[in-house]
Symmetry: C2
Subunit: 197 residues, 2 copies
């Protein structure tokens, strides 16, 4: 028989983060209580504080982990050489990665306002550094004369918003497959920064 109490620090920690991620995404950080998270995990509320100093650190940890993994994952991609291909690669990557992690994405973008200034600045910096990757692609393409851009910074903000929006409506097993969605967004993105006909 399994012991009722015992050492589970290696699995309880991840379970807490997983439960918090799901609940925060579903109901919002402020609307979720530590008691709810604990109930989801199957421990008492007090036990959570063995794994996080407080509720906000739990949130900030989720955001940081997500953004760091996102950036690290992007950096493992072998860069396509042509700006056109590079942008298509970014779109595919961004959509694919985000479609698989809708909860983490939602939290990282929407719960920033629940962070105190220091933590906010830290998370915001990570987000900016990811967005800078896209902006660099656009600037390179512009310098190479492949893209026609009045303002690369604005274009990168516009594209990021467009791409991330896919998590608002995409459902596994829906009308369009993942690959189809990736290609359609890539087509729109490429056209939006291309030369006028």
């Amino acid at each position: 028989m399994a012991r009722k109490t015992g050492s589970h620090s290696d699995i309880t920690g991840p379970k807490i983060r997983a439960a918090a991620e799901r609940l925060f995404a579903r109901h919002g950080y402020a609307a979720v209580s530590m008691r709810q998270i604990a109930a989801e995990v199957g421990v008492q509320a007090g036990a959570l504080y063995l794994y996080t100093p407080d509720k906000q650190s739990l949130l900030a940890g989720l955001m940081r982990d997500h953004l760091e993994a996102l950036i690290a994952s992007w950096k493992t991609q072998t860069p396509a050489s042509h700006p056109h291909d590079r942008l298509r690669q970014f779109v595919r990557f961004h959509i694919g990665y985000h479609i698989d992690r809708p909860d983490a994405v939602f939290i990282a973008y929407m719960e920033l306002r629940n962070l105190e200034p220091d933590r906010f600045a830290e998370i915001e910096a990570l987000r900016r550094s990811y967005e800078a990757e896209l902006e660099a692609i656009l600037r390179d393409g512009q310098a190479a004369g492949v893209f026609e851009l009045a303002d690369p910074r604005l274009a990168s903000m516009a594209l990021i918003a467009m791409l991330t929006g896919v998590t608002n409506w995409y459902r596994e097993g829906g009308r369009l497959s993942r690959a189809e969605v990736e290609e359609l967004y890539a087509d729109m993105a490429l056209k939006s920064v291309g030369r006028v006909a």
Copy 2:
């Protein structure tokens, strides 16, 4: 001298909605207490219940008013006849309207999860009916052979997300003027649904 207490129902109601809108947008619905709203308005918490039956109705009212005004305002526009111009008109309208009301926009998009099923369905229907306006423009343009669209529904979702994202970064008095932002987004939107060069 002004009376300390008296009849103010004509101004207190709007003040409550304005305070709630600002606070909900800034901190999130769940994180804001009725006492905070009351303090902002300058009344006691109990007085709020003369104007709303409960906290959630206050939220739903803000969302409904915003979306109904948005749709009504769009319908006052004289439709441009050419799909090209019509899309540009929509982009200008959408960005202009949203830039002026960042709080209402944020709430209407982000606090849906705090609504109970009935209210959620009502608000969601309003949002869909607005999105359908864009989708209709895209379909018309596709039928006229002006736009090249693999999937009008996906394209409308992509464009709405792109356009609405402007509220995340635009600041009055920033590097780009309103008119510039509207034009740059319109250019990108038009190119994204245009024929390939």
